[in-house]
Amino acid sequence: MTDTTSGSTAVERESAVKTMTMAGAINAGLRAAMERDDKVLLLGEDIGQLGGVFRVTDGLHKDFGGDRVIDTPLAESGIVGTSIGMAMRGYRPVIEIQFDGFIFPAFNQITTQLAKMHYRSHGAIQLPVVIRVPFAGDIGAIEHHSESIEALFAHTAGLRICSPATPQDAFDMVQQSIFAPDPVLFLEPKARYWDKGDVDTDAVRTRLDDAAATADIGRARIARPGTDVTLVAYGPTVRTALQVADVAADEGTSVEVVDLRSISPLDIPTVVRSAKRTGRVVVVHEAPTAHGVGAEIAARVGEEAFFHLKAPVMRVGGFHMPYPPSKFEHEFLPNLDRVLDAVDRLMAH
């Protein structure tokens, strides 16, 4: 991916680079989108004066008012369903679901309605609705506050699903999602909200009102090049994968990290190219491995890179159980040791 911001000099662009947390970058992205188009509306529980339980919408209510930053009734299906109606009249609703575990009352609206309206109307109705979900675990929360829900939605055609791993991507991708014509499930790795990084606020990577914007979200990124093993990760596990790569490098193993960025569509060509280079692949996600995104990737790599593989594709993820009490979550999550173990096992082949 290259910056396509044209006309601005390097000096000017440098002045737009700021260090931000991921939460701050999403906030800045929402602000930029709202300034750009007054059809962009934010909706959710407690997102107004409180700024959301994670403060991601902090300050937006003050600056844009309660007509643009709307505190909704406590009803997830209602939030998604009414947003569908508003989108039918040209609005761009951006919903915040308070926690991943509370999206299920809206599951019906998302999967049977939001995802399918374009198909059944033969393209007559576009629903540019974004559903922002603080997702995944590792914050020591009580139950229903740490779920990884991506596979449950990825099975539904008509939805796009993405998850940023860096503040820059968070800033860019939230805007690209808002201005894309399809509904997007935007999964925010909540344990990474406070991670800092440089964000170039001038350079949303492709022009927003261009089809290329959505295509860009769908593209994976090589977060770190390597030659021995490919780690495929997204959202919260990208940082884990990069840490694994550091440790493995000390042990003489060169690890390539692919940050998927998008779960639907999956950028299979990028993953397969990497698999062909290294011959060894581990998929790392927090969601339970059974029936998960990793299974899909393993199958696709098997189909398309079989003769390049030196070992079977492995997965490191959660167990087939409810998200455990938080005192156990570090063993449930694909932590450094478990991913390293998988890397070692692949290298032994």
Partner: protein, 373 residues
Amino acid sequence: MGPLSDEGLVQLLDADGTRVGDPDWEPYASHLTPEALRLSWRLMTLTRAFDAEATSLQRQGELGLWVSCLGQEAAQIGSGTAIREPDYVFPSYREHGVALTRSVDLPQMLTLFRGLEHGSWDPAQHSFHLYTLVIGAHTLHATGYAMAMDRDGLVASGQPDKDGAVVCYFGDGATSQGDVNEAFVFASVNNAPIVFFIQNNQFAISEPTTRQSRVTLAQRADGFGIPRVRVDGNDVIAVHAVTQWALRHARAGQGPVLIEAFTYRMAAHTTSDDPTRYRSHADEEKWRQRDPIARLEKHLDSLGELSQEYRDEVAAEAKALGKRTRETVKSWERPPLLTMFDHVYAEPHAQVEAERAWFDRYQQSFIDEGSHA
């Protein structure tokens, strides 16, 4: 007062076709000239003829399923004729009469039931949204749409002729759904310009309304602070009047209204259903006596406003609609297979593109084989 009682129903035309005086509601019906009433009779008659034709097409295996609205014509035409531009309608899946008032081509609707597509008409063109098969889901879309109409300045604009509102149809069973209750909450707290129109046809498949509620469905509105009215759903004049009132209320920025039209589903729930398992002939006969079309016919007759000539005209029109329906349905061919992959997303999606390409190659391989033979 339970959900199957007929207490408190607004009525302007009794079962014998005699006009009933009601000073509260009469003003909303006073504009109905004999000509307007004849039009309602005609629309109800056409709806019924189309319905009968679709039922027989299903019996002959030409349609996968048919959802009849037999007996509900007054509820649909009475309300449908009160709707105008820029009002917008969200139907469930039984609103063929309302569709007719929105100028949807009835035969064309059947592509859905023949399994050719999921949505048969352009919603924007008719201000009539696609049918929704997940019970109650569309009540939220309707509410959001109404909230957006309000934002767009189409409500209480100062020019009452230009104001609009949403009418959302659903059944008695639907009132039990969470979505419907959430729609009431959103509509109420946002003062949305929406008329919730319940057709209480007394059944959700086999379950009588008493399995959904202990009170009248109209009373549901009370807890949400939504004004409500209960109307004789087989009285096309009363239905028109209450819908007229409700729409004016909503268009004027006074917020949502709930109408319960108490009626009866004279046919089976769908062509797959067997109503003999859950209701008696006596009941059905009782409601046949209250047939909405016959009722208006008696009234027009008593006024001397239904000439034989007009009857013949409508009968010919109904017959022609039936014939056109049959011919249209039989003329359809399956569209090219690859169109199945169209419109999954608004923009290209790698998975869909890859699967379309694969399927195309797969199909081509048979054609190639065939050409060698």
